[in-house]
């Protein structure tokens, strides 16, 4: 329970840590939504794929966590692009909902492919074990801190890409107005592929961060999917800064609910956050109306 400012600070700190882990899958989800305008539930599957790709890189090839995260990003991005092109893209003419339903099936498929090869056992990464640092009663777990830093680096890289490069400008243009971007000579197909690769890749990166924090199994991605949607909806569907902000809000909210209610109800908090935002401000904190 919260007794003095140290406890409050601890909760805030834990909330930011939790939020930074949710941030990347949420950004990935919104990145795909911004360009293709459908909710891609397969981010859960991509997160699991990334977590296992990172696990192979880390424990089988002996790469340190930082490089393994890069492998997780590339593997999930590649699988995401492949799945999009073969399974989801042909469904786009049938409407956003058809694609959304197919993406749920896709998550199930990816999960079971992972399950086929790795089984249901929990697996951990090879990590140096650190003791918690203590600052005047506030605990900081070095692993969680480094996860938050990795997440911040990945998010900053995406923001830099969107803000400063030609490709980033083109992506924002397509997200803003696909027809206009098309007229101006931006190939929407290419931008869609880039968005899916980055979105799925970030989901995979985030999936491995979840694994670094705890352990992984085929349901790793699915377990956080509700919190990830909550972050995306709270921030505003399709808004990338919104996803980052939404993840922090949801992370803090879940952490506080974990203290005030029962830890098991963290996910329920995420669901309530979705309902609250949809009732009061459906476009989300940073989203556009419409």
């Amino acid at each position: 329970m919260i007794q003095d400012w140290r406890d409050l600070l601890q909760v805030l700190l834990n909330g930011v840590m939790a939020g930074s882990i949710l941030m990347l899958p949420a950004i990935g989800f919104n990145c795909i939504f911004a360009v293709l305008r459908y909710p891609n539930f397969a981010v859960a599957g991509y997160a699991t794929v990334g977590a296992f790709a990172g696990w192979i890189a880390n424990t089988q090839w002996g790469l340190p966590a930082g490089f393994a995260l890069l492998v997780a990003f590339l593997a999930a991005g590649a699988i995401g692009l492949l799945a999009e092109e073969t399974a989801l893209k042909p469904l786009r003419p049938s409407g956003a909902l058809t694609v959304a339903i197919a993406s749920v099936a896709l998550t199930l498929l990816l999960e079971n492919i992972v399950r086929f090869f790795f089984g249901n056992d929990l697996r951990g990464y090879d990590l140096p074990v650190f003791r918690d640092w203590r600052f005047d009663g506030v605990r900081v777990n070095p692993q969680q801190l480094s996860n938050a830093i990795y997440a911040a680096i990945a998010a900053s890289a995406l923001f830099a890409l969107l803000a400063f490069t030609r490709l980033g400008r083109a992506m924002r243009a397509v997200a803003d107005n696909p027809q206009l971007a098309d007229i101006k000579g931006v190939d929407p197909e290419r931008i869609a592929r880039v968005a899916v690769f980055i979105g799925a890749g970030l989901a995979g990166f985030g999936g491995m961060l979840i694994g670094l924090d705890t352990s992984i199994d085929p349901l790793t991605g699915f377990r956080v999917v509700l919190s990830v949607f909550a972050a995306a909806v709270v921030g505003g569907l399709g808004s990338i800064p919104g996803a980052a902000l939404g993840a922090m809000v949801v992370g803090l909210g879940e952490e506080m609910a974990g203290v005030l209610l029962e830890p098991a109800y963290r996910t329920v908090t995420a669901f309530l956050a979705i309902l609250l935002v949809l009732t009061i401000r459906p476009e989300g904190l940073l989203g556009r109306r419409g």
Partner: protein
């Protein structure tokens, strides 16, 4: 083998009821519902608690299961009916997870992950298990029959026509003076009630329910059943449910024939086949085997 076939047909009946319920919500009113298993679970828990702890008679328990699910559905529809379909997909999916979490954690009420056992069944214990299965088979398929007739009538009634109009174009329906929100809420509640009823029957058949039994996988089965049968078609919903059970059980036998595969791998293979069939169906035969028949077919 005979007992096995009867058990599978009973399950096909549960799936057919759920697919019929989904068809009202998704097929007629055009609102996606990826939280079916949540309503199914609500119905199951409602009747299990009422009949076992408070000794309500079973038919009242079934009605209660349907009512609780309908109330949850109506509430959800009120909250999300004005929003676009993609939000509805997220909210319903989340709803089902919340139901599962609550069922896992409110131990005082639901006995947590251990589940509730010893749920009464019609004449269970008084007749041989085989007779019990047969009784239940008759019960569940009579329920399918009654629900089918009622929903098929509703679907061709003015109510059903308005729902289709809302599905095709909400604004036009509103301009024609139809209270769109009210129709959506009723459709959602009706569909959820049927799904909850199916859950209630399931609880009494199985005698045991636990949160694990209400995983999102079941929702996928039903979406697959309705897609295979034909979205919007009540006959399609029933045929689709039978097909899904056939596919599920067929893959069980095929998986047994593959040598050198562990049980976990077999389960993974079967679930992969289900997921893949849904993706392929959506692509190659989105209208299903028995497409919806309406007097004015809009171009697909």
């Amino acid at each position: 083998m005979e007992a096995y076939i009867i058990a599978m047909l009973v399950f096909a009946g549960f799936y057919a009821l759920m697919a019929l319920g989904l068809n009202v919500i998704w097929g007629l009113a055009g609102m996606v519902n990826l939280g079916l298993v949540g309503f199914f679970g609500l119905g199951a828990y409602a009747t299990a608690l009422l009949t076992k702890n408070l000794a309500w008679p079973m038919p009242l328990g079934w009605a209660a299961g349907a009512l609780v699910a309908a109330a949850a559905g109506a509430l959800m529809a009120v909250i999300v009916a004005r929003l676009r379909g993609d939000y509805l997909a997220i909210v319903t999916l989340g709803f089902a997870e919340v139901i599962r979490l609550v069922a896992s954690n409110e131990v005082w009420l639901t006995n947590g992950t251990d589940g509730i056992s010893g749920i009464p069944g019609p004449w269970r214990g008084e007749v041989s298990p085989q007779t019990f299965n047969l009784i239940f088979l008759a019960l569940v398929w009579s329920a399918v029959g009654v629900v089918f007739v009622l929903l098929a009538r509703a679907s061709h009634s003015p109510f059903g026509r308005v729902l289709r109009a809302i599905r095709e174009d909400e604004d036009v329906a509103a301009v024609a003076g139809k209270p769109v929100l009210w129709f959506k809420v009723r459709a959602f509640a009706l569909g959820a009630a049927v799904v909850g009823f199916s859950g209630a029957l399931y609880a009494h058949y199985n005698a045991y329910i636990a949160p694990d039994g209400f995983a999102p996988l079941l929702t996928i089965y039903i979406v697959l059943a309705l897609t295979a049968g034909g979205v919007g078609s009540m006959r399609g919903a029933v045929v689709g449910a039978l097909l899904v059970v056939l596919l599920l059980e067929g893959t069980r036998f095929i998986a047994q024939e593959i040598p050198g595969v562990s049980p976990v791998q077999k389960a993974a293979l079967r679930e992969s086949i289900i997921a893949l069939s849904l993706i392929l169906l959506l692509r190659f035969r989105p209208q299903g085997l028995i497409p919806e028949r309406t007097r004015t077919r809009s171009s697909p």
